[in-house]
Amino acid sequence: MHPVFPFVVAALLFGVGAYGVLVRRNAVLLLMSAELMLNAVNIVLITADVTIQRTLKPALPATGQIFALFVIVVAAAEIGVGLAIILRLYRLRRAVAVDEIPLADPLPAGAVLADDGLDERS
């Protein structure tokens, strides 16, 4: 087996995921693209597990696979929280397009930046 094949697949998958994150507007699609990137990482881990077990004296066997498992679990947690945030956003704004989220919300009173506290004119 040539490890270069799965590695290149992982690299391409990561690129596709990055493209998706940058281009997609819908938050759900954004999460899907993030999942693609995570999967690319997992492929690298699994392949490295096989490859490095062969080439190096293993101190901790099956490390790559265990890391992959952890990544999957973390991905599950991430998707859970991410979806909760998306639902909340949808409930607040009736939209889930990430570039429609207004960022310059009026700040609460008392945190006005223009007041430097030095002016004695007031």
């Binding site: 960022l103 930046l113 430097d116």
Partner: protein
């Protein structure tokens, strides 16, 4: 590690009285009065004891603090001069305290007032007996503080706060030089002990610098030109305070200091002193001629008489200067207390409100006549002898230059005498001033006690006020004769004077001439103010415009500078602070708006940044 207890007790007793007195309730009267009179009286007794004991060797003293190589010590210097000046201070202080009890009978802040006088007395006595420069400076500065407090005592007078501030600032201006001079002397000699300072060998330049710097302080305290302007304004204080300041404490300190440190002053410093003294005596006497306020006349007269003392020192005669200091303390205190009695009776400071007081106030009349005669210098009163010895010394310096004069044998330093022209200056100015003094003293006498009475029901004050007048009349009358006795003359370091030389008649003749002119004018104009016939009296009333000159030359530039500094402070310093704040906020807002990118742009930026870094590393590592 020993100290002369008698001399140390001299300032300590009034100090204790002052500290206790300051703690008393403000409106209490009996206890503060007892304390104050007791303190001053005890000091007087101690001073007399010191004179009787005679000069003692300067004790080693105690070390107060050590700063590296320099030790601040406290020793006392109880020579004959110190004892006599202390007696004068004690007499005047006691008289003033007694007098104040009656004079301030309805004042609601008598207790702190009496305590402040005690503190003032204590500070002056500290200056008198201090054997080290640092305690001397301490006493010197406490006097400045007390003069400020006491001149500003009467809060109802509109000019009192300004006068107090003026006295404080003007004397403080001189004190800057004084402290610098003390620092130069002390650091060069490695000790602040006066005996060490006097025996240390300084370079000529150091001596000149130190001497002139010390003279700044002397000019401030002793009201020498051009720092004399505070003294007439200090009349805003209660009359006993004027007596205290003018007679025995504040103004005497400068003269006493020059006499004490006399060997320090070399020819240059003495020339400076001579110029200042000559201007001071002429200007003071001329201005005194034109004043309407009786206290102002006496104040300018003090300025003029201080010029005499300084002039005597400038021609190298320490003894006559000190003798005049003592006699002036007597008769000027008497005159001020007498004028206080007049003001008390009439209710006004102006001489136009007085007149014809001779009959209604005989005690005041007689005692003040003695005081004025002493001021003019009529024989055999105190002023005659002291003034005559000064002019004799000046004449001596003029006629026999090069001879070592009376003051110089004591010092280990070979300080040069003042140049000849300075002696001429002092002598001529002194003679002219004698005539002017005769004129204005007579004017004061005539306008107050003779002529038509302008006051309703004037009456003699209580015995508390009359007593001090009588007491002070004694030294005013007799001090001159007593001073001829070796007991006093030796202690003052004088050669036994011979006042009845031929040239001694010149000042007497001039004084008589001045008096006669004044009397003749008064007589011819049937009781009008003699000043009305003097041309250019506006200049005299304005005291030759020194105040205006100082206003133009110093006060306004300082104000302008202060405004400029304030503006610079507002614009530059505050501006920098505010600018920093505003700039930071603006930058932060800018950065915040840059950060406020939407998620897509932020993600793009992060990912492309990471990519660029990776490429850069790859390229870098690849090479």
């Amino acid at each position: 590690m020993s100290i002369d207890l008698l001399a140390a007790a001299l300032p300590a007793v009034p100090l204790a009285a002052a500290l206790v007195g300051l703690l008393l309730p403000m409106r209490s009267r009996r206890l503060p009065a007892i304390l104050a009179i007791g303190g001053a009286g005890t000091a007087l007794v101690l001073a007399i004891a010191m004179v009787i004991r005679g000069p003692v060797e300067t004790a080693e003293g105690v070390t107060i603090a050590e700063f590296g190589d320099l030790a601040v010590t406290f020793t006392t210097w109880a020579d004959g001069t110190a004892g006599l000046v202390a007696v004068a201070v004690g007499i005047v202080a006691t008289c003033v305290q007694v007098y104040s009890v009656a004079y301030l009978h309805d004042d609601d802040r008598y207790a702190p007032y009496a305590a402040q006088i005690s503190l003032f007395t204590s500070a002056m006595l500290l200056v008198v007996v201090a054997g080290d420069l640092i305690p001397l400076v301490v006493g010197w500065e406490i006097m400045g503080l007390c003069s400020y407090l006491l001149i500003g005592h009467d809060r109802k007078l509109p000019e009192a706060p300004g006068a107090a501030v003026k006295a404080f600032i003007v004397t403080r201006t001189g004190d800057v030089g004084f402290i610098l001079g003390v620092a130069i002397l002390g650091t060069q000699a490695g000790s602040f002990r006066i005996s060490d300072v006097l025996t240390h060998h300084y370079s000529a330049a150091t001596l000149t610098a130190a001497g002139v710097l010390l003279l700044c302080g002397v000019a401030g305290k002793s009201a020498q030109f051009p720092l004399h302007t505070w003294l007439p304004d200090a009349m805003a204080g209660p009359t006993p305070i004027s007596a205290l300041i003018h007679a025995a404490t504040m103004v005497a300190a400068g003269v006493y200091l020059v006499a004490r440190l006399f060997p320090i002053f070399n020819g240059t410093a003495l020339a400076v002193l001579a110029i200042s003294a000559s201007i001071t005596m002429l200007l003071g006497a001329a201005t005194a001629m034109a004043q309407q306020d009786i206290k102002k006349v006496l104040a300018w007269s003090t300025v003029s008489q201080l010029g005499y003392m300084a002039g005597a020192l400038a021609v190298g005669s320490r003894g006559p200067a000190l003798l005049h200091l003592l006699s002036h303390a007597g008769f000027k205190a008497l005159l001020f207390l007498g004028s206080g009695a007049l003001i008390h009776a009439v209710g006004s400071n102006l001489m136009t409100a007085m007149g014809g007081m001779r009959r209604s106030m005989p005690t005041t009349y007689i005692t003040m006549t003695i005081g004025l005669a002493a001021l003019v210098g009529l024989p055999p009163l105190a002023g005659f002898v002291s003034k005559d010895t000064i002019l004799a010394a000046a004449h001596h310096a003029v006629s026999a230059p090069g001879e070592v004069t009376a003051g110089h044998e004591a010092g280990a330093l070979a300080a040069g005498a003042a140049p000849l022209w300075a002696a001429w200056l002092v002598w001529i100015a002194g003679l002219v001033t004698t005539g002017l003094t005769g004129w204005y003293a007579t004017r004061l006498w005539l306008r107050t006690f003779f002529g038509a009475s302008a006051a309703r029901h004037p009456h003699e004050p209580s015995w508390l006020m009359r007593g001090p007048l009588l007491v002070l009349a004694v030294p005013s009358a007799l001090l001159g004769l007593v001073a001829l006795a070796p007991f006093i003359a030796e202690r003052l370091g004088m050669e036994t004077p011979e006042p009845f030389e031929t040239e001694a008649l010149a000042p007497l003749a001039l004084a008589t001439l001045g008096s006669l002119v004044s009397w003749y004018t008064w007589r011819r104009t049937s009781g009008a103010d003699p000043i009305l016939v003097v041309p250019g009296r506006r200049v005299l009333v304005a005291a030759f415009g020194v105040d205006s000159a100082i206003d133009v030359l110093v006060v306004r530039p300082v104000h302008a500078l202060a405004r400029a500094v304030k503006r610079a402070d507002e614009l530059l310093v505050d501006g920098a602070v505010r600018g920093t704040g505003k700039g930071t906020v603006a930058l932060g807002t800018l950065l915040g708006s840059a950060h406020r990118a939407g998620l897509p742009r932020a993600a793009t930026a992060v990912l492309s940044g990471a990519l660029l870094i990776a490429v850069a590393i790859a390229v870098g590592v690849g090479q």
